[in-house]
């Protein structure tokens, strides 16, 4: 039910990751020391954003994007203040003054800028209101979150936190099967691509680091970003059969396969009877 918590425990990047993976629809409210940000999502994609009292009506956004002059903005604010954002957008497009793409680009730029500013927040609380969306007359967008997540993850600098996120470098990585997690669409750096090229359940993170000539910190930071963006997941190194057998032999008094199975079945019936 409750998706709420503190920014000390969940970074904005991690929240975006969660919203992305769970395909959430609703509004994330982040209360910082000075202002409140409201970020709306539809099916895990960014739809709308508002920061504090900042004017986020379409006219103001187009003005910020240098699509309207200060004079034009003032005219709209004085004479067309009763027009909704959708109506204003349509009028400007129908008048061939702007294209639909111009309008959407300005909105994309403004909303992602708000998220970038949010990345800097370290104090504050958050909660998610399921199904809450901006008023009908506002123009919403559909923007994939992966690139923003990678960008946010790059800003994590604390060694301790990275160590917590990726405690063991003896694990391997594999690409997730999540639909939509598309590497082609990502703006990856050269170093990130290099790491990506070595990802396989047969290579430990340590081996990838050695191949890419990276230290523990560098490899952890890159992998953290890929993990956050939902592109890869941590798995145990392959060749497992031998290791699994060994671990099981250490755990079981019976060494023969059939005896081992019968032992587990006895445990199962015993627990059922509790």
């Amino acid at each position: 039910m409750a998706l709420r918590g503190n920014l000390r425990d969940f970074t904005v990047t991690q929240l975006l990751n969660l919203i992305n993976l769970a395909n959430k629809t609703g509004t994330l409210l982040v209360e910082g020391p000075n202002e409140v940000a409201r970020i709306a999502f539809r099916d895990g994609k960014l739809a709308y954003a508002q920061l504090g009292q900042e004017d986020n009506r379409l006219a103001a956004i187009l003005h910020r994007a240098n699509r309207l002059t200060t004079g034009q903005l003032r005219v709209i604010q004085m004479r067309a203040s009763s027009l909704s954002d959708k109506e204003l957008g349509l009028s400007l497009i129908n008048a061939n003054y702007l294209t639909q793409e111009d309008v959407l680009n300005a909105l994309h730029a403004y909303f992602t800028d708000i998220i970038r500013r949010l990345f800097a927040w370290v104090e504050g609380t958050f909660h998610f209101e399921n199904e809450m969306l901006p008023p009908e007359d506002r123009i919403t967008v559909r923007l994939d979150l992966e690139n923003l997540i990678i960008e946010g993850a790059r800003q994590l600098r604390e060694f301790e936190q990275l160590q917590d996120e990726i405690p063991s470098l003896d694990m391997a990585l594999r690409f997730t099967e999540r639909p939509g997690a598309n590497l082609q669409k990502m703006n990856l750096s050269v170093e990130e691509w290099r790491v990506v090229s070595y990802i396989s359940p047969r290579n430990t993170i340590q081996q990838i680091a050695a191949a890419c000539k990276m230290n523990d910190m560098e490899i952890r930071r890159i992998i953290y970003g890929l993990l956050q963006a939902g592109l890869v997941e941590v798995v145990r190194i392959e060749n497992v059969p031998a290791a699994v057998e060994k671990a099981r032999a250490a755990a079981m008094p019976a060494q023969n396969k059939e005896e081992q199975k019968s032992l587990v079945n006895r445990l199962i019936s015993r627990i059922r009877s509790i």
Binding site: L18, V234, M252, R270
Partner: protein, 180 residues
């Protein structure tokens, strides 16, 4: 007499001792101490220091031991010792305290690196109104869809049984796949 063991791990105050207590046939041999640190004392009164220890007798010649790890980080040297020879492990997570999820994930990864044995994750305290939903916890804990994340109320024997059974089913399933 044959013995097997399972490990119950997770962050401070996740409910490990309570979990073992619910199903153990002996009083849990708990090495609990009164808490001295102020921040931890606001959460609860006593904490496990070295380990918890519970027992379930299966029949004349088979006993299952449940070991609970100490939750506080400064006792994590015990983890590796306790994980030696475990049949599987359970990671308990307090669903009402998202501030512990990062640590839970780190504990999970650490245990996963100790031994390639099966494990399940128990989303504990699901009876509380502030509990996070399972699906949100799955993403926050970064569990892929194949990892079992089970609702749990450590004081409710049935949910505890279910967690143990699911772990045993995973152990059995893994034995069957590795046979092929």
């Amino acid at each position: 007499m044959q013995t097997v063991k399972m490990v119950v791990t997770g962050p401070f105050s996740a409910g490990k001792t309570e979990f073992i207590r619910s199903v153990s046939e002996i009083d849990v041999v708990s090495t609990e101490r009164k808490i001295t640190g102020d921040s931890e004392r606001t959460v609860k009164q006593a904490t496990t220091v070295a380990m918890d220890f519970g027992r379930i007798t299966v029949d004349e010649d088979l006993v299952l031991y449940l070991f609970g790890t100490p939750g506080q980080k400064r006792f994590d040297f015990m983890w590796e010792i306790l994980s030696e020879g475990m049949l599987g492990f359970i990671v308990m997570v307090d669903s009402t305290r998202p501030e512990t999820f990062r640590e839970a994930r780190s504990i999970l990864e650490t245990f996963r690196a100790y031994a390639p044995t099966p494990y399940v994750v128990a989303a504990n305290k699901q009876d509380a109104s502030e509990a996070w939903e399972l699906e949100d916890m799955r993403h926050a804990l970064r569990l892929d869809s194949k990892v079992k994340l089970l609702p749990c109320v450590a004081t409710d024997k049935n949910t505890v049984k279910n967690v143990l059974l699911e772990l045993l089913y995973s152990i059995l399933a893994e034995m069957e796949t590795s046979e092929k």
